[in-house]
Subunit: 239 residues, 2 copies
């Protein structure tokens, strides 16, 4: 039977999906999942997603471990890093072989929400093609779980879900109108992604914090990474 | 202050919106709100939305009252009508001046969900321009509440939300990515609405019941009605 590709536009809608035996692709383009992929590109060994700031801080004294994260787009006190893919890449020498603990407003919560599936993998425009190839090579149905913004849907995660749907179309049944809508939205706007996103709410919110270079990186550096982070025993790792 | 236009893509997400003092536009293109507008076009005096089949049946013995509705797209036993805009229009002579009690899978539940707002009005492609003019003429912010399909979003309601957003753009602040996304989706697909909808899940589900003419009517008869049904004391009326 052809596996299905579904899209859940916000974790608030996830209770209405059947997760069992499906691969859950967690996506939070601005910026958690882009940052996670970039951190592996920078040579990080593994990443522990922490749902709360307190949980992240409890790992502070561990050797060879850095804390990273944000709340509402802003950096956190006593953390080593924010949630910036470009800063991770600039600090590749410092990060290589080290562990990262990361907590973010929406992204790490979406990872937690996706735990009812067979497997959790991390998606971003950075690893789009590699992820699509990986998903095609296995036989599981897929749910793309968009982290959104505080229970609301957002443009950038929806566009990513649509881009992935377009690549999976030949091997998967695009199931449900959310998947169809996302795919159509991406197909009709892929030449002007950045312009469309500039008017989106999350972009405008984050741009106020001076992270426009980051946002541009997350959207325009498509397929620069071969890393497909997956969750194993509470830890994100790559092969 | 410029009023806002927000879009709630399914009633399951409505708890994350602030309804107070806002006008709630309830939309269920296939077919409840299209049918409600068409019933007023057919001369119905008022319509009582009933959340359950049992509630609708409790009105059966009332004089000059017809029962209408469906569950999962199928007609209901002991009801006078299904949920068909074209059948309502064909029965204009029978329906003129009469009362209708209507219950549907998604639409009447969305009306119930929207009751936290200042006012509920009914939207469909049939009354799109009249509705937009009505909303522009008042000063309230608006939430377009898409009925969707059993807590999932659907294509046709999202496209309507986008069409309305496009018309309101000059007078309202398009607020949130759901509204932006819907507006963009409609703008990029308005020349081929029917083709896009033919691949959508709800269309395919309903087409199996032989109501394709109805579906085509709901999508292609744009602006044929001046009626803007509003909820007053539990009853839908027009001015």
């Amino acid at each position: 039977m052809t596996p299905t590709y579904e899209v859940c536009l916000t974790p608030a809608l996830l209770p209405h999906f059947t997760l069992k035996e499906k691969v859950i692709v967690v996506v939070d383009i601005f910026r958690a999942t882009s940052s996670i992929v970039a951190a592996f590109d920078a040579g990080v060994k593994h990443i522990r997603p922490a749902a709360t700031v307190a949980e992240a801080l409890s790992h502070k004294s561990q050797p060879n471990t850095f804390l990273a994260g944000e709340r509402d787009g802003k950096p956190l006190i006593d953390f080593d890093f924010g949630n910036s893919p470009t800063v991770f890449l600039e600090n590749a020498r410092k990060l290589a072989g080290k562990a990262l603990v990361i907590t973010t407003t929406n992204g790490t919560k979406a990872i937690e929400a996706g735990k009812g599936g067979a497997k959790i993998v991390i998606g971003a425009f950075l690893n789009l093609a590699a992820l699509a190839a990986h998903l095609k090579a296995q036989q599981h149905s897929v749910i793309c779980l968009c982290a959104g913004w505080k229970n609301h849907i957002n443009m950038e995660d929806t566009l990513f879900a649509g881009a992935l749907g377009g690549l999976l179309d030949s091997h998967f049944h695009i199931s449900g109108d959310a998947a169809l809508l996302a795919k159509q939205l991406y197909a009709k706007n892929q030449e002007e992604l950045f312009n469309l996103l500039k008017s989106a709410s999350h972009y405008q919110r984050l741009a106020k914090f001076g992270v426009e270079d980051d946002l541009r990186y997350c959207i325009t550096h498509i397929d620069v990474s071969q890393h497909i982070p997956k969750l194993e025993k509470g830890m994100l790792v790559v092969e």
